[in-house]
Every structure is written in C-alpha cells, then in structure tokens.
Symmetry: C2
Subunit: 563 residues, 2 copies
Amino acid sequence: MKHTKTVVPSDIEIAQKASMKKIFEIANGLDIEEEELEPYGRYKAKLSLNILKRLHTKENGKLILVTAINPTPAGEGKSTVTVGLGQALHKLGKKAVIAMREPSLGPTMGMKGGATGGGFSQVLPMEDINLHFTGDLHAITTANNALAAMIDNHIHQGNQLQIDTRRITWKRVVDLNDRALRKVVIGLGGPVQGVPREDGFDITVASEIMAVFCLAKDLSDLKERLSRIVVAYDIHKKPITAKDLNVEGALTLLLKDALQPNLVQTLEHTPAIIHGGPFANIAHGCNSVIATQMAAKLGDYVVTEAGFGADLGAEKFLHIKTPSLGFNPEVVVIVATIRALKMHGGVSKDNLKEENVEALKNGIANLKKHIETIQSFGLPFVVALNEFVTDTEMEVSFVLDWCREHNIPISLTQVWEKGGDGGVALAQNVLEQIEKKQTAFTPLYKQEDTLEQKLQSIAVNVYGAKGIELLPAAKKQLQQIEGEGWGKLPVCMAKTQYSLSDDAKKLGRPEDFVITIRELKPSVGAGFIVALTGSIMTMPGLPKEPAALKMDVDEEGKAVGIF
Amino acid sequence: MKHTKTVVPSDIEIAQKASMKKIFEIANGLDIEEEELEPYGRYKAKLSLNILKRLHTKENGKLILVTAINPTPAGEGKSTVTVGLGQALHKLGKKAVIAMREPSLGPTMGMKGGATGGGFSQVLPMEDINLHFTGDLHAITTANNALAAMIDNHIHQGNQLQIDTRRITWKRVVDLNDRALRKVVIGLGGPVQGVPREDGFDITVASEIMAVFCLAKDLSDLKERLSRIVVAYDIHKKPITAKDLNVEGALTLLLKDALQPNLVQTLEHTPAIIHGGPFANIAHGCNSVIATQMAAKLGDYVVTEAGFGADLGAEKFLHIKTPSLGFNPEVVVIVATIRALKMHGGVSKDNLKEENVEALKNGIANLKKHIETIQSFGLPFVVALNEFVTDTEMEVSFVLDWCREHNIPISLTQVWEKGGDGGVALAQNVLEQIEKKQTAFTPLYKQEDTLEQKLQSIAVNVYGAKGIELLPAAKKQLQQIEGEGWGKLPVCMAKTQYSLSDDAKKLGRPEDFVITIRELKPSVGAGFIVALTGSIMTMPGLPKEPAALKMDVDEEGKAVGIF
C-alpha cells in the first residue's frame, strides 16, 4: 500500500535505518537448533527440513490466512497487513511466525513496487529479499530451462520419444519482465543448431516448477512431482513427462537447497519465513507448503497470505494448498480499504480523495461477497479495514456501522504508519475468533467430483455466477484430460483478479453472469488443471520508464531506488 | 584430470567423505575480521571488499600463475595442480591462498566434468561450487538479460535512440548448454509483443558482463565499465551504450553482492577464493581481479590459474588482467603430462597407454614453445609434470633428461593421488625460483601500440606464426574501431585452444603458418578488442547422454552424480 501524503519516510529509508537482530537470535527465539540453520549473510538463513522431522509430533500453531477484496489500482496493502498482524501478535506476547511469498525480480525492476510489505510493517533486509534473496528463484529458473534444454537436445539427438515439435507445452523462463520473449522461434541456423520450432518464455513465477516447489512436502515428493510434469505430446498425442526424459533427478538436485525455507525478520524482529511465490492465476499463489508447515511447527500462531482477492487466492489456498498442507486456517482476515471499496462502488482512481459514502454503499457489496465465501468454507473471519490518510470519518463510520449491523467482526488497522501497534486491535479480534473455536472447515467440492462439477462449484459459490460455459476447445481438452486419468485433480482458476466475474471491468458484486472456460491446461506435476477464463499474461512487459532506471548503488555500497 | 584405473575413489566420494572446517575458522587463519565475512551456509562465505581497503598498504603476497601446454583430450589437470600446489605450500608452512574461477552449470550438466580440481586436490564443498554456489553466475545472467530486456523495451516504447534492430550486438544468456537458443527470432506475435528481430543466446560465462565483473577493481569501476558496454548501433552506425539506456545503476545493483569474492577451502583446509569465470577465448579466462588482489593481501603466496594453454590463458593474464591487477606473477608453473605430450607428438587418444618415447620427442616441442613464451615475458617458471598411472619410467626419464639438458626447472607431481604431499617437490621448486628474484616482467606489446601491432606481436611471439592476415571484414572493423577511439585497447584473442596456430588439428609446435583474423569485436566495457580467428562457440550444446541424466539426490539429501 502506498500512501500519497504522509510524514512516513519511504519504505527503503525505513528499512535501511532499521536495526536488525542477527538471524541466529531470531532462530534462537524459535528454538531452532544450530545445525538446522544455514546462514546466508547475517540476516537471512535457510532452515533445514530436519526441523519438520524433529517437530513432527508437535501440535501445529494456529493458522491465520490473510486475504482481501478484489484488488484495485488503489491498493489494499494485504502484505503490509500480514506483516503488521504478525508484529501485533508479537507485541501481545504471542509466539507468531509470518509465512509469505518471495518476490520476483521482474515486477521489482518493472513497475515501482517490491513485495515485502510497506511503511513500518516490512520484512528485512528488503533490498536483498527484493533482489536475489537466497537464490531460490534462480534455482527454479535454472531447473525450468535445464528441462527445456533437455527436450530440445532429445529432439536434436534423434527424437527417440517421437516428440511432436508442434506440441511442446514446456516453455523457457526468465525472472524478468521481457515481452520480446513471449513468442519466439528457436533452433534456427541450420542442422548443427538444433531443430527449429515455435517457443516462448514465461516469467519464472509462472513456471510449473514454481507451483511444484510450493506444493511439495519434502524432497522425495518434489522429485515425484517433477517426474510427472508433462512437457510435450508425442506424434500419437500421448503425454511426454520429465521422467520420460530421465531428468527428474537433476532437477531435484538443482532445487535441493532452494527447497529449504528462508528465515528473515520484520522491522519489529518478528520471525518471517519467506519461501516460494507462484502466480495467483495460472498457479495457486501462496508461499510453499513446507514454509507454512515449518512456521506452524515453530510458532503458536502463523500469519500467512494468499494472492489477489479471496475469490482467487483464498479459494486456491483452501482447495489446492490445504490438502498438501494437512491442516487448515483457523480464521481468515479479509483486508479492505475505503479507497478500494469506493472504486468497487464506481469511483475512478482520480476522484478517490473525495468523500463518497454513496459509492461505499455500492462498493461494500464486493466485501460482502467475499465474507459469504469464507463463511461457506466454514471459517471464522475478521475484516481488516486498512486505514489511509484520505479516509474521512464519515466513510470509516459507514463501514463500521455496516459491519455492526451485519454482525461482522471488523478492526481498523494502521500497520503501515504504526507497525505492530497499528494492528493490535486486529490481532485481539483475530485471537478472539480463534478462541471461540467455531472453525468447521469444509471444502466447496469433493476430490472425487468431476472437473465440471468443481468448475461449477467455484463459479457459483465463490464468484456468484449463474454457471459456467465451456468453449469447444475446452470441451475437447476436458475429454483428453479425463482420458489421461487426470479428471479428479483440483482445478486452478486463471481469472482476472479485478472482478468476481471473468470481465475485469465488472467491479463491485456483479450479478447474472456466466464464467466462460476457454482452455483447460493440465499441470500434472503441480497436481491441478488450470482453467483459463481469458488470456492470462504469463510474461509481463516493462513500462516506458521501468523502475530499474531509478535503481543504483550509493557510495557506501547501499541499494538505492527499490520501492 | 581423470585417471583411468586407480584405487583412488571418485571425486565426489572423496569430497563428500572429507571433513571440512567451518568457514569462520578458515577466515580466522587469514586474519579476516568477523564483519568482513558473510557466511553462505557453514562452508562458504563472501568476503567484504573492505578487506582491500583495510589492507591497502600491506605488501602483496607472491603470485604464482599456473598455466599449461595446449590442452588435449588426454587432460592435463591444471586446476588439480593449482589446488595441489596450494595444499603443498600449506604443508610447507607457508600462508598460501588459492584463487580460481567458478564453474558454469552448463558444462557441469553437459559433459562429465566439474571444475573444482580432482582426486585429493579439490576445493570444497564441490557439489555446491559446481551447482549454484553463492549465486554469482545467476546474478550475471540476470544483469545480462535485464540489459537485453531494456534494449527491446526501449525499441518497443518508441526507440528514441534510433537503435538499428539489425545491429544489436547484445545477446541474452543462460548458464546452460542449450544449442537451440543459439539463433532465435524474438518479438513475434504482433505489436503488443514487441518488435521482431534476430537474436541469440550465449552461455553466461561468455557474457561481456562476466568479463567486466572479472576486471573491475571495485563497485565504482564496475559501474563505469558497465556503462561503457556497447549494446547496439543506431541507424547512423553510432554505438549505443548501457549508459545511453540509463541502466548501469540497476546492473550495478544486481551485481553488488556477487562482486564480493567467495571463500572456501581445499580438502586439506587451504583457503581458496573462487570468483568469476569468463571464457578463455572471447574473454580473458581468469578469476576476478578482486579475488586475486584479495588473495594477495590475505596470503603470502597466491596460486592462481589461467584458462587453456599459455598461448591463450597466460598471454591474456599478462596483457589484459595484470594491468587491472596492479602486480604481476613472480613465477609461472607450466603443467604438462606425458599423455598430452604424446598426443602433441602424433599419438591418437586410443594409443596413449603404449609407451612411445619417439612421440614424446616430437610432442615436447609444444612445451618448449610455451617455455620460450614465458621467458620472453621475463618470468621465471617451473614445469610441473603431472604424473599419470600409465606413464612409463622410460617416458618420465626422457622428459626429466630433456629438461636437465635444457636447464629447465621441472618437478614431478602426484597431487591427484596424494594431495598436497604429491606437490611438495613442485612447491619447493617454485619457492626456489621466487627466492632467486629474477622476475623482470615485460609485456610483449605496449599499451600505445596499434591493434595491428598488438595482434602481430602475439601471433609471432606467442604462437610462433610468421605473421597475421586480416580478412576484409576485419580490416573494415579495424577502421571503425579506430574511428571510435578504441584503437589503443588490448586485444583478446579468440583462437582454438588445441593448437598454437588457428587450426585445431595442428598439434605440437606448428611452423610456417599465418594467423587469420576474421573479425574484430569491441568489448568496450571489459576494455579489450576481441580478435576472432575462426568460429568460436559461445553457446555449447549437450551431448547425446548429458551428465545431468546421472545426477540425483540420495535419500539423505546428498548430491549424486556430479563428476
């Protein structure tokens, strides 16, 4: 969340002025044993997977899932609330651990905006986390591209598997915004340079390996999932997997160190585990299962987040991540802001500073739908109204009153401006919900349901649609997917994050709409079927003035220009 | 060097059985202060550039440069001798530090062969060093590709600099062997996906950023060099630099942490600084200047190596690296093996096991030429005859006698089989040469010589050619290069490593040949002009059975199958 006018200094100024504790101290506070910690510099460390074995029988900490209304250009500050809530629990004397995704370099260098929270609710060292961190994304990039090189080498060396070069689904990746790589032709230059074919590059976080990495329970599960990845189809249209290429061992080796979660701290020294970061459209958009499991073994409370709004991130957390995780959230925090609710009520971005209670009245329907969704999963929740300097008293009162009328638990937060102190009310509200023990988690579909039933359930129950329509291509793919025996996998919706519907322009709570499924794409390694409802961008472009143009190193060797 | 039959276990078996000291202990032995060490796990660390500032006035350790005869498929074991010599000096009670290049993942996953020495002369942890290590190569890959993305984005966003899309010289890179990426067309798919153009990928170690990284003296020199990199020419054929794109700050930021050298240890706990690894053909093929400088401040003796044979690696070390380094080697070690000398004398690889003194008599001419070259630089030297199990007594005697006759200092080494103990004789010989103080280093050309004079000098004095011939394209490029004011830069020869000539098949000591210069390519950031004498491969391909197919992780999470 970026506030327009305030006395709070910039994120990087706050971050660089902060005094961090040595990572050993943070680890000591979590009873991590010395040999379980691999330091990466003084303030970052990798955590050994042995921690999960050692604490196998220990009860899991209470899981708090932070989600949001549909995002708008106004910004909701979900990561900032996640960090702030962790800090607030810490302030209340609770042993809280934060579990978050790690940022991708592409957006950091592209549009202004890191992914480490903001203001006085940040994870540190913010420059390191936003740049190379501990190299996890580089390892994933390398594994993805090693697999691609093996495919083209196999074809070049005689193509024993009879791969149809027109039906290679595996793309290469870079962890950058680079639109010129979206569609390419490779293998040009004659017979010594390989076999020409169409190809394309995605951004690393869109790689199926990232999704696999984030759902794997341990090294052997990682290898098992990697071996299942479908990379192409042969001339008989039968799937070719990484295992057919005999490369799953090398890929596992390339990812072995990266699979260990990363421990860092917040500005208030609350431990944070930052690990994995898959796209929230073509993948499930949550940090790794291993990171969340570890946080739950090390802390009494775990604050974690899911990508985009509750229609995408929370739904996927609950249907895709939870089965691998083995336990479910006790309570959900739904982040909303006055500004975003006004946009959902029809106000344009330029007019957000003006008080507009009428727009709020309309826009709050978006929040209401997400609340209903969380309730339908049988989960208690708290609305976090993340305050902004331009919010008026009347607007805030309207939302508070509306919640009171509807018997909806709500707390105001000022975590950006005040850090943990600004989240204490929210933390108390969250703890209260947990103590009530009213959690009765129920997925909205059953594992054994058909893909169509699953799609229907999400569209109707989560989006509020009348139903779904499968375009002819998707119908054909459905048959093929069922024919291959993948028909019982969960679905992973690739839908615009801006609307509950599949039309980005329909804000608020759209009604009377149908979700159109254009394409079904198996991610067999990750273990889900991606349902595309529109064209989803898997390789962002750079703006005219990329954020990178402001980046530099000062005379003391410090990072400059990361926002 | 890989021995065929021996009781010595495999490299990875030796490496994984070894007991390493904590990296803090290794650093303590070098009087590195605690805040100057950034641990990466327990056995690797980055060293702060402050060490160079703190020890600015301290006398440099004696520099020992390890080079070799022209490499053959028989293997010479230059890295193994480098590590073994460092260990041997350590055994003699000397404060020795090894400085080496870091390996590229491409060859490690492609053809059997890491780059961390062998047998009982290895640097550890060998798996880590051969895989992601501390992420330096990933940082270089990212910086290289960020610059490429900025070029294509600039063109897409209106091309204010009037870049000629047919004259973009900057290529993308991956740290893999991937022949299908050598020649590609990017920007396909219509106006939203960028501007279509021809492009290609090199392997990361061939990136000019790698050369820049290895020649930079500090962060500001790095930035200065990055800003000078020529990425394209505009429609008026004027060079476009990274500075014109305003991206040198971001590139410096991406490389800031990587620029700190990496400290590890050998099997015998000798400190080794492993940092940077540019190609030895289109670049200069030595570890970073900063690493060598730091080794010289921390140790009394520094053992370092240069790529390929003395005609390429040592020549470039002495003409390109030494000026940035600020000091020169005191002594040069020239590694040779009986097997390789026999190949230079005309024996095929399959017949190497048979005793053949006649072939040795012919092949030793290759060694003789390299000795003369080192002498012409005014440097003392020692020949290291790296023993192999198939060498016969008669063959060894022949080489020893030949050296005695010619008054050439020589030592036998068994560092692969015996570690430091196998290199003690060599170490004593090297120390003796240093104590004689007969070093009178003189470059073979002057900075102010023209490019043609420099080319001529290297061809005649180092290769033993009659002269050079510039093909018409190269002549034209020479004019352009001089026109841009780059005519006084040193030259960086891109020549086959297998022969003293530019014909890979001419082994031994070819005579009566001319070096044909086909192309001149400015690397203005690195600060040299690459002279191509043939087609140089900057993106290797994978063999039919890549080494990666044997790689895996065992049940304990240990690496398997790295050789």
